[in-house]
Structure formats: structure tokens, C-alpha cells
Symmetry: C2
Subunit: 212 residues, 2 copies
DNA sequence: GATAGGACTGACCGATCGGTCGGTCAGCCT
DNA sequence: AGGCTGACCGACCGATCGGTCAGTCCTATC
């Protein structure tokens, strides 16, 4: 089975539980993971999970909150070391993609919440962090607009959500491309370059732009 | 509760089961829906569900297959009544968005499978249909390229997957935008127009294009 | 009218779910 | 030494899970 994850008894049980829960919830979703699964994967007794967390939902929220906070902090650090206004978008796309690849559990959890939870806005720790992510990106896009980098009429929020959403979606469907013949000649890195090119310059040719 | 769905005993039980299962699986996902839920929602006995389907997975596959086939057929009909090559992309985006809004269960099921199921490629009825959808779109984009509509270097498969993925993702996260202050001044229709504009023309200004 | 077969049901099964309980044990304060 | 606290565990609870089964009902065929 692919559930191979060594249990290092040196790290505190609480952290082991959180780490195992994050991995399992990301892989299989909330309802498909039992407390017994989490307990077994973290090398503790099932009752001990309930000792550290009030219930299954509390554990899930703790996992979610941790992932979101870490992503927000990483994004803040990344935006602080900003590139020139024109290079913002490739810079962000490269970093974001790398982050999602290094933290697949975070990416998957986030996507699950974004698309699968209708009550996301009202409750839970994800929504506020998400709003902050969008706001940070919007501020940067706006700065780019002030420098004349973007066309007139480009809505900063649309661009920000496009960047966040497209990359997240594509990172999570990467495994599909490997099975589709049409993608055989497009490597992962080439794909990002192609995607960035489309976002920056659009798909239309100069000829088509004039006749429209 | 929002589970209000009238049970019309005039329609055959088999169809009632399929319809209820599609709605429930789309809303809550495979593991969160029990056969009892499906039976109650379709007005039949639980055992009757097992009479019509070999098991829970068989029911799920039947639901998934039905959704995929219907989407594929609708897309074929839509592409048959094609617009001029230059108008393909707005044409497709408008139709696709309308389809996803009219069939929210299909959209949600598809997205769940695309992002949540690591074994999608190996099994299930979704993958072949998905491949066909991409292929159809790719063929149309290629036709556009032949007419000089698109820039050189634009990869048809990248555009096709971008169109399918972005629209699907955005349709499923629409409810989020209604809760975010940054979106307050952007209506749903305005959003599609803005998104289409970005895809067709890119975000960079003429000035930025020259200095790069 | 007898009968065969599919649609359908209520009652039931073992397994597993989230969660609880009583209790052990090590470390820390006084 | 004695008392307290929090980490931790094995055993257990009621509820619900997916699935089974014997049997009833309806209808078409002979």
C-alpha cells in the first residue's frame, strides 16, 4: 500500500497526529478518513486523538488552519522579496507552483475546501486566509497597473483569482496529463511556460486582434 | 434543510435512484452519502437500490457515466453548430458556462473526480470522456490556428485544458466570490467578459510587451 | 387459472464509525 | 512522601455503515 509513512516516536504525539491527519485528509477527504486511521498512522491510541482534540471536526479544522497559516506566511515572505513590476506574474507563478509541489497536502486540502465545501464562507479557518491571499495578490497586481505593466481594463481581482485558481487546479490535475496522449510532448516545465505565455499575451494573433 | 427535492412516483424507481444519487454525490461526495440517503431521497427501500445496482460503487459509476455521456453529447451538438474560427473561444466559454450552471451536479461531480481521485486515469468512465472533450476542443483550436486566429507558439492542448479547467474551477467557486468584498463590484456576467478578455488578449500592456 | 420472473420490501447481519470511560503512569509542586 | 495534572491506553458504547435474504406484489405468458 502507498500509505508508507515512517513513525518517528521522537516527535511529540500531538505533532504526529497533526501531520498524519493532514496527509490522510488531503489524500482521501474528511469522511473517508477515520480517527482509527489517523491514530494508526501516527502511532498513538485512538482515544489519545480525542484527548488532544475535541472531536473529528476539531482535528480537521486544526489541520486546515495550520495549512492555511503556513501558506499565508510563505506567500508574505515571497511577496516581500518582490521582483520588478513586469516580472511579478512569472515570479509568482513559479513560486506558487513550487510551493504547491512541495506541499501537496496543503494544495489538495485547499482545493477540496474551495470546491467541495458550500459553507466555506461562513465557517472555518480557510476563508479569511484565502481573502488575505487574494488581497495580497491584488495589491501587487495593482502596483503593476500603476507602472503601466498591464493593459487598461484589466481587473486586478480577476487576474489574482485567475492566478491562484488556475495554478491550483492545474497542480492538482497534473497526474491526469501524464495519462493523456495529447500531453505526451509537453513536459511539466514547458507547460508552465506555455501557460504563463497565454496569461501574459493572450491567445489571439495580431491579425485577429485587428479584425475584432 | 436544503434537501428539498420532491419525489415524483410517476417516474420509474431506477431513474429516481439515479437522479437522487447524482444530486447527493455531487453535493456531498461518495463517502458522505449512504445508500440509505439515496433510498430515502428517491422514495424507495434501501434494498431496492441493491436490486438495481450491484453495490455502492456500481451506483456511483453509473451516475458518473451518465453525467459524462450527457456532457459529451451536449458538447458535440454545440461544436457542430460552430461559430467562425475567431469567435470560437467566446462561443465555447459562453456555452460551457451555461451548461455548468444548468447542470451543477455534473459540474461538481466532474470536478470532484478530476481533482480528488488519483486513480481516475486507470478506472472509471470519466477519463475516456474527458479525453474526448479535450480532443474535440483541441481540434477546434487547431482549426483556429490554421486560420491564423491564434498566435504562433500557442499550444492547442494548453488552450483547451485552460478553457475546460478554468471555467470548471470558476463555476464551482462562484459562491465564494459573493462573500468576498473585492468582488462586490463585479457581476457574474461581467466576470465572464473580463475572464474572456484576459484569455484572448493577455494581461500585459503594449508598453510592457515591447520592453520584454 | 397456474406460473414464472422482475420490482420491491422489512428485517436482519457483521463490521466499523465517532466518541466515552475507567484507569495507568511519569513528572512536577509542596 | 503525598497529591495533582496531563499524556496516554484498552475496552467498550450506541449508531450507522454496506450488504443480504426471505418473502410479497404485480404483470406478462401460457
Amino acid at each position: 500500500m502507498p500509505d508508507a509513512a515512517p513513525i518517528d516516536l521522537a516527535v511529540p504525539a500531538l505533532e504526529r497526529i497533526l501531520a498524519a491527519a493532514e496527509r490522510l485528509f488531503a489524500e482521501r477527504g474528511f469522511d473517508s478518513v477515520s480517527i482509527s486511521d489517523v491514530a494508526a498512522a501516527s502511532g498513538v491510541c485512538k482515544a489519545n486523538v480525542f484527548h488532544h482534540f475535541a472531536g473529528k471536526h476539531a482535528l480537521y479544522e486544526a489541520v486546515l488552519s495550520g495549512s492555511c497559516v503556513r501558506l499565508g506566511e510563505a506567500m508574505e515572505r515571497m511577496l516581500a522579496t518582490g521582483a520588478d513590476p513586469a516580472g511579478q506574474i512569472p515570479h509568482f507563478l513559479t513560486w506558487y507552483r513550487a510551493y504547491l509541489r512541495e506541499h501537496p497536502a496543503t494544495a489538495r486540502l485547499l482545493l477540496r475546501e474551495l470546491t467541495g465545501n458550500p459553507d466555506l464562507a461562513e465557517s472555518g479557518p480557510v476563508f479569511p486566509v484565502l481573502v488575505r491571499l487574494v488581497d495580497m495578490l491584488v495589491a501587487h497586481v495593482r502596483a503593476g497597473s500603476a507602472h503601466g505593466v498591464f493593459r487598461e481594463g484589466i481587473h486586478p481581482t480577476v487576474v489574482a483569482s485567475l492566478l491562484l485558481g488556475v495554478t491550483l487546479f492545474n497542480a492538482q490535475t497534473e497526474h491526469l496529463r501524464r495519462h493523456m496522449a495529447a500531453w505526451r510532448d509537453v513536459g511539466d516545465d514547458a507547460y508552465v511556460a506555455l501557460l504563463t505565455d497565454v496569461l501574459l499575451r493572450g491567445v489571439l494573433s495580431a491579425q485577429a486582434l485587428q479584425t475584432r
